[in-house]
Symmetry: C2
Subunit: 417 residues, 2 copies
Amino acid sequence: MVNASIITIGDELLIGQVIDTNSAYIAQELNKAGITVKRRVAVGDVPNDIQKALDEDSKHSEVILITGGLGPTSDDITKPLLCKYFNGRMIVNNDALKNVIYLFEKVFKKPVTEVNLKQAEVPDVCTVIQNKRGSAPGMWFEKDGKIFVSMPGVPNEMKGMMEEVIEKLKNKFELPVIIHKTLLTAGIGESMLAEVIKDFEAALPSHIKLAYLPNYGMVRLRLTTSGYDKTATEKEITSQFETLKMLAKEYLVTDEDEPLEKVVGKIISAKNKTMGTAESCTGGYIAHLITSHHGSSTYFKGSVVSYDDEIKKNVLNVSMQTLQTVVAVSEETVKEMLKGALNILKTDYAIAVSGIMGPDGGSTEKPVGTVWIAAGNENNHQTLKLNLRFDRMRNIQVTAITALNLLRKFILSEPFV
Amino acid sequence: MVNASIITIGDELLIGQVIDTNSAYIAQELNKAGITVKRRVAVGDVPNDIQKALDEDSKHSEVILITGGLGPTSDDITKPLLCKYFNGRMIVNNDALKNVIYLFEKVFKKPVTEVNLKQAEVPDVCTVIQNKRGSAPGMWFEKDGKIFVSMPGVPNEMKGMMEEVIEKLKNKFELPVIIHKTLLTAGIGESMLAEVIKDFEAALPSHIKLAYLPNYGMVRLRLTTSGYDKTATEKEITSQFETLKMLAKEYLVTDEDEPLEKVVGKIISAKNKTMGTAESCTGGYIAHLITSHHGSSTYFKGSVVSYDDEIKKNVLNVSMQTLQTVVAVSEETVKEMLKGALNILKTDYAIAVSGIMGPDGGSTEKPVGTVWIAAGNENNHQTLKLNLRFDRMRNIQVTAITALNLLRKFILSEPFV
């Protein structure tokens, strides 16, 4: 097995100002290539801490991928530090220089400053990984059989380099296949699910790992294994996965590693139907989840985000009486919103949600976290009331996922025509 | 200075299946309390790797906060491992037991299984941090003057415990204040900005750190310092920050650490006006950004997500002729969408966007990444064309931020009446 460590560098990672999404992306790519990520470390722009991470992680990993600290400003210290760490000296790399000049002249259309030109300098002991999306070149070092790769912390620039890095790693090592098989369940908690598959879990060979990943009231189960014989490895895990699927059948949402909104989209596409949303408290988040996936335009037509009651009334045609008597967060309102959405968006299916996401706006009768959801078509629908107790953002997320699942169940319960 | 390390445990963090948001939250809270996060480490559910992280990180940190691996299933190994690490033995904690029974009987309304009851067991060498949002108790260990706290990996449960953890840490250590001052600029790149503030940066005392945080084509500047004399520390950094603000005046968007959508919201609220959006390619993301903040209902009324051209025509009243001749991604279309949004949503301001987010759907004339944006009111507007070259998700994000900034500039350029 080839082990890897990911080291991310930047003070901003340690004060919680940015969320580290790079590590997850790099981990995914390494995994696909058959490299096991042993650990991830985030350190600040502090020479000593970076060096310690390099020392420690190269003890147990053959591959060390580093991001961050390559910018043109003085708080970016990774490049000189690596130069010293690998006993190199700085030289200008011609391809990197051409790239910097090209970027500033043709793409950014701004004058090149001296600071920018310095970005073309790299330690003479590295191989340059060209950066097609920015001015900081990537650097590939080899020392005592270990590989160290330094990439920019800007996610888009790092992603642009990973393909070349992975190719080079594949040429360097003989790698096994790592296979994950994931299924998503709904309507059962983690511990109840563990009861259901207890015997399966006990009988699972030790080289196949089972993980429970609960989120938004749904539980994902993941089987993982690896091996050098791709066919045999694939065959064994597939057989175990089929057994697991049978056991979880009653709760199974999908047997692929895909989010719920894609599952719903596939079901609607397969029927050649369309959908839309009428969103109050989720404020467009359901529409965003759906449209963040390529291909959603085949079944998703649009939304009315009726954050203000006036929009519920004027655009979705919710009656004045409903809004005044049973108020906006009620079963009657979401039913009328659903009808209005189907009508104005002219879709086959729709989802409507209205609720109080917090931190304030609740009352004794309708506390923060009260949500009503409706999902259906022009003939029929289902409604659901939630009493959430999370923070605002999580209330929005849980509402969106629950609403999508309600629509999924509604469609699957429809009689075939 | 009191240093902290954050150790997150879980295989899912190493295969990139989930993005680690816990670390950012914990880092923020520690920071506010005056504790410096030295590093963050993520390891798998592997006893050896967890132990190594505990050993290494307790060498340079006084506080080690751990999340993950406390679930009821067999892949959760943190609790027995910590029990062994601190030479304890497992005993039932009565408060935790009461909590588990209460949660299952009253909240989840499901039978308690044996597996759940086991969650009330903790090492006898720890102090329990009660979990008000789930069944796994938190654990506080002390050894050789170092503090180790283990919390669940479920973000909401961890967040529910952090307040108590921070209180206990404040009682344990004499902590300095850590102060960050952040400003956001637009319209200038990182290296040009570095030129502008070069002399300021050179003259900055070494105990005040300056960081550049570029994102979405905007650059955030952050000054950080710490000290035991709160008043003096605050005074010194404020004075430096005022100088920095003066230097960056031309590009300054906000001098608070807040996202652009909050800046726009404040400007509109201050004028007692309202806004809405008409979104095609961003699919509700702008509305989501705005409504993810508490208080947005005072100025945000709603959106029409016109993903399908039919919605542009039927709901936003974009003319058939425009859609057929100059097509959906054009200046004329976003101008008509803007007008339609102002009309149907009855808001003072609106944003309209239409573009091709990729990965396909482009043409030679209008490649992937072509976006048109309009922002304005019923009398006037500004339009902008973008040629983006990122992946789908980032294209959506950059479009949203650029559109919000266009509206901000439009409003600020309005004559006073």
